[in-house]
């Protein structure tokens, strides 16, 4: 397991544990994600948990996650809680040296 996969796994787990989150969807288009998983199955026998996308753009760390939320908790609140959980997880690692961070949380389904 490489570093990026480990980070993605940890972030996915963090997001799943936020109250109100019912699903973590792939941040890549579904068709691309599915083809990617099939390819990984065929070539390596492993399905990567690529649900949370982590990339680096011009020195900025960019995290993108797409979620489904329950009807019971306001979607806006869950959205903020997911952001806070990810930011908290990254904060210690980005202080030395300081690195800009951008976190995109998208709610794609409610209920």
């Amino acid at each position: 397991m490489d570093d990026r996969t480990a980070v993605t796994l940890a972030l996915t787990e963090t997001v799943r544990n936020v109250p109100g989150v019912t699903e973590v969807y792939s941040s890549a288009p579904v068709v691309v994600a599915t083809v990617s998983k099939v390819t990984q199955l065929v070539t390596r026998g492993v399905v990567a948990p690529d649900l949370v996308a982590v990339s680096e753009v011009d020195g900025e760390l960019v995290v993108a996650v797409t979620i489904g939320v329950s009807e019971g908790v306001p979607a806006t609140q869950v959205c903020r809680d997911v952001y806070d959980a990810i930011a908290e997880q990254f904060a210690p690692a980005l202080t030395d040296p300081p690195q800009p961070l951008s976190i995109a949380v998208k709610v794609a389904r409610i209920g």
Binding site: E23, Y25, S26, P29, V30, V31, A33, T34, K37, T66, G68, E71, P74, A75, T76, C79, R80, Y83, A87, P100, L101, S102, I103, A104, V105, K106, V107, A108, R109, I110, G111
Partner: protein, 212 residues
């Protein structure tokens, strides 16, 4: 379920590579074998949930007046399925406020339309036809109008049904979004005869109308 019904406007990629017809067949097969590309697609999940509710809500119609006017009601149901498919697409991004400049938080328009339809479906005696968000949903604070087409079952008060739909939708939007909703316009296009509403049959209702 929809084999003989023409569903206009759908392209294969509309719902993450799937059509509403494919989802209908998948639902009819009990979601077996499991299709990961459907089960991991929020758009498909929204559409499947709406189709399940529609199946339950329209059962009374399918058991009564559809038998008398099959062409009309197949077209009607197909129209709703068509709307479900369109609405389930992600659409525009609706911002959620956060004090941090690092945050980019959004709801998809598809998620909100799904919420609106689900709220409307909780109102008894009505079928939701189409849901639309009108206005600049991507700009915080902009006035937004919700347009809902619906039909009611025979015997329901249309003004009361419209009011109940409006209340249900507003409550959900208030709870889950930061949209500045200024109006919720409910347009009732059809009245359906249904034996399941009370025990009065179509013939009895027509008889009472003549006698009255």
């Amino acid at each position: 379920m929809t084999d003989d019904i023409e569903l206009e406007g759908f392209e294969p990629a509309d719902l993450d590579g799937h059509t509403i017809d494919e989802l209908s067949d998948y639902l009819a097969a009990g979601r077996q074998p499991v299709d990961p590309s459907i089960e991991s697609s929020p758009g498909c999940q929204i559409a499947l949930a709406a189709m399940l509710r529609l199946r339950t809500l329209s059962l009374a119609l399918l058991e009564s007046d559809v038998a008398e006017q099959p062409a009309t009601d197949e077209s009607f149901i197909a129209g709703i399925l068509n709307s479900i498919g369109f609405e389930a697409q992600a659409g525009r991004s609706i911002p959620v406020q956060h004090p941090s400049a690092q945050a980019s938080l959004t709801l998809t328009e598809g998620a909100v339309r799904g919420l609106i339809r689900a709220a409307g479906d909780t109102v008894s005696g009505v079928l939701i036809g189409r849901c639309t968000l009108q206005g600049e949903v991507g700009v915080p604070g902009e006035p937004i109008s919700v347009l809902v087409d619906a039909s009611v079952f025979w015997g329901e008060s249309i003004p009361l049904a419209a009011a109940r739909i409006r209340e249900a939708i507003y409550a959900e939007l208030l709870k889950h979004t930061e949209l500045n909703i200024v109006t919720i316009d409910v347009t009732v296009h059809d009245v359906h005869l249904s034996r399941s509403l009370g025990e009065t049959s179509v013939e009895e209702i027509e008889g009472e109308a003549r006698d009255g």
